[in-house]
């Protein structure tokens, strides 16, 4: 660099030493203050003593010397008195010069800018954090709403499984349900020798068999437009002609009975084919829902009682039907006559057998 004219150098010197409150220390090889001068008072450093270790008097010097990389610059150091200085270190044959140049206004200016920038960044970070939180809260809310509506659908479908759909609807509308049905066919079916065989095969197999039987009864009832009303032990009670009346209720229940028997024959129970006793009777009944918290849709009347008695009288594998049902079935079903049989509490009853 070209050497500056004396006048310029002199102006720069005056400018710097005045504008930036230049002050200096000279530190010897033993790290004691060898000389001091300039505007040390501005930095609150008037009490520094020459001939004594610098680090003991000026804490910022702790560890800094000897410095292998001179010249060395520490910008914007706030000194104990509150003034801020740029510190410049440069060597001079074993001694080190330490120059103080005021940087207080510059530091304050930078601080104002930096403060704004960091505050803005912090706000943005916080906004992102809150947005993320909001999003996850929304997500959780949506999930719990979905869970709720899943539960509702499940409850509804449970209700539908327990009760015929039209009954469930009326129940939801808070209606009292007790209906007379003039013409329905009622079926009872149970498993031959269930109690004895259950004892021999154990609980798990027994449950599996019952599950198979009741599932078949459920699935077939949908297929043939019947309603499975309930199970009692190993016995299934089903009806056709309910809750919506139909003129072919006897045909529907007969087909249902035939298929149910087939389904049973395909399964084995304790080493033998699963066999059913089935009884059917047709006539008027009363149907209704009883209970307040656990709904039970049930049927009542002589028709129901007689159907149960016919079922008890049936042989293994037999579908036994009353004369009333037989008359409704007509010629499509070639039934075998069983003559009149004495049934407990009813007297002589004419019965028929559905073909095998």
């Amino acid at each position: 660099m070209a050497r500056l004219p004396k006048e310029v150098r002199s102006w720069i010197y005056d400018f710097f030493s005045k504008e930036r409150s230049a002050a200096y220390l000279k530190i010897d090889a033993r790290q004691c203050i060898e000389a001091k001068g300039g505007n040390l008072g501005y930095y609150g450093l008037l009490s520094l003593r020459t001939g004594e270790p610098v680090a003991d008097q000026l804490e910022i010097m702790e560890g800094l010397l000897p410095c292998p990389e001179l010249p060395f610059h520490l910008p914007m150091m706030e000194l104990p008195g509150g003034r801020v200085a740029d510190l410049h270190f440069f060597d001079d044959s074993g001694s080190v010069w330490l120059l103080f140049l005021d940087a207080t206004p510059e530091r304050d200016h930078q601080q104002r800018l930096q403060q704004k920038a960091y505050e803005m960044t912090l706000l943005q970070e916080r906004e992102r954090e809150l947005n993320a939180k909001l999003q996850s809260t929304n997500e959780a809310l949506r999930e719990s709403q979905e869970g709720l509506s899943r539960e509702y659908r499940r409850a509804e479908s449970l209700l539908l499984n327990i009760l015929p759909a039209s009954i469930a609807e009326r129940l939801k509308a808070d209606e009292q349900i007790a209906d007379n049905h003039a013409e329905v066919s009622v079926l009872f079916a149970d498993i031959v020798g269930f109690t004895e065989r259950a004892r021999s095969v154990g609980a798990a197999t027994t449950i599996a068999i019952l599950n198979y039987f009741f599932r078949a009864a459920d699935l077939l009832s949908e297929q043939y437009g019947c309603e499975k009303i309930k199970t009692i032990g190993d016995c299934v009670m089903a009806v056709a002609g309910l809750p919506v009346a139909r003129s072919d209720h006897a045909q529907a229940i007969a087909n249902y009975a035939l298929e149910l028997r087939e389904a049973a024959r395909r399964e084995r129970f304790a080493g033998e084919a699963l066999r059913l006793r089935i009884g059917i009777h047709s006539g008027p009944i009363v149907a209704g829902v009883i209970g307040k918290r656990r709904f039970v849709y049930d049927l009542w009347g002589d028709t129901v009682n007689l159907a149960a008695r016919i079922q008890k009288a049936a042989e293994p594998d037999e579908i036994r039907i009353s004369d009333a049902t037989h008359q409704l079935l007509g010629p499509d079903f070639a039934c075998e006559p069983l003559g009149e049989t004495e049934l407990r509490g009813t007297g002589l009853v004419r019965m028929w057998r559905l073909p095998a």
Partner: protein
């Protein structure tokens, strides 16, 4: 006289200045005032057999590690790494700053402070992560410059490490 230079390192607004103020003057201010450059404070820590004067260099925090002036750390014998427990990204900043310093001046004792432990509902550092760091044998403290919790413990621990 046993005098040791210690540098406060960490991202911006993690609480370096507040921790020094809490430790040296036992005060806390809610106002955030960013540090530009560096400010020096001093505090004596007394042990049964000696007293250590800690010269605390409170360095400006960074959001851009590239602008960190490693030369400030020359002569330091220990580091206080400060993380904001509500801002997980500041952990990486503190660890990167330590790497920069060690690359320049070699390994030195440090304590790692997860600060703002009073802000429990915004706390964002999983316990498992802290346990994992502890398993490296690191001295870790959950501090609050607001309440003062574990602040003295952390500085005392570092003082005993650098006084050895």
């Amino acid at each position: 006289m046993l005098q040791k230079k210690i540098c406060m390192l960490g991202g911006f607004a993690v609480g370096k200045t507040s921790l020094v103020r809490r430790f040296v003057q036992s005060i806390f201010s809610e106002n955030y005032l960013t540090t530009v450059g560096v400010k020096i404070d001093k505090k004596s820590v007394a042990f049964p057999d000696k007293t250590v004067d800690l010269i605390l260099w409170d360095l400006a925090g960074e959001d851009d590690i590239g602008s960190f002036r490693v030369s400030y750390v020359r002569g330091a014998t220990g580091l206080v790494l400060v993380v904001d427990g509500t801002r997980p990204a500041t952990l990486a900043v503190a660890l990167t700053l330590r790497e920069r310093v060690e690359a320049e001046f070699g390994a030195m004792p440090f304590v790692l402070l997860f600060n703002k432990s009073d802000l429990t509902d915004r706390w964002a550092i999983p316990d498992g992560e802290i346990d994992e760091l502890k398993q490296r044998g690191w001295q870790i403290y959950l501090t609050s410059a607001l309440s003062g919790e574990h602040v003295d413990d952390a500085f005392r621990q570092l003082a005993s490490m650098v006084a050895k």
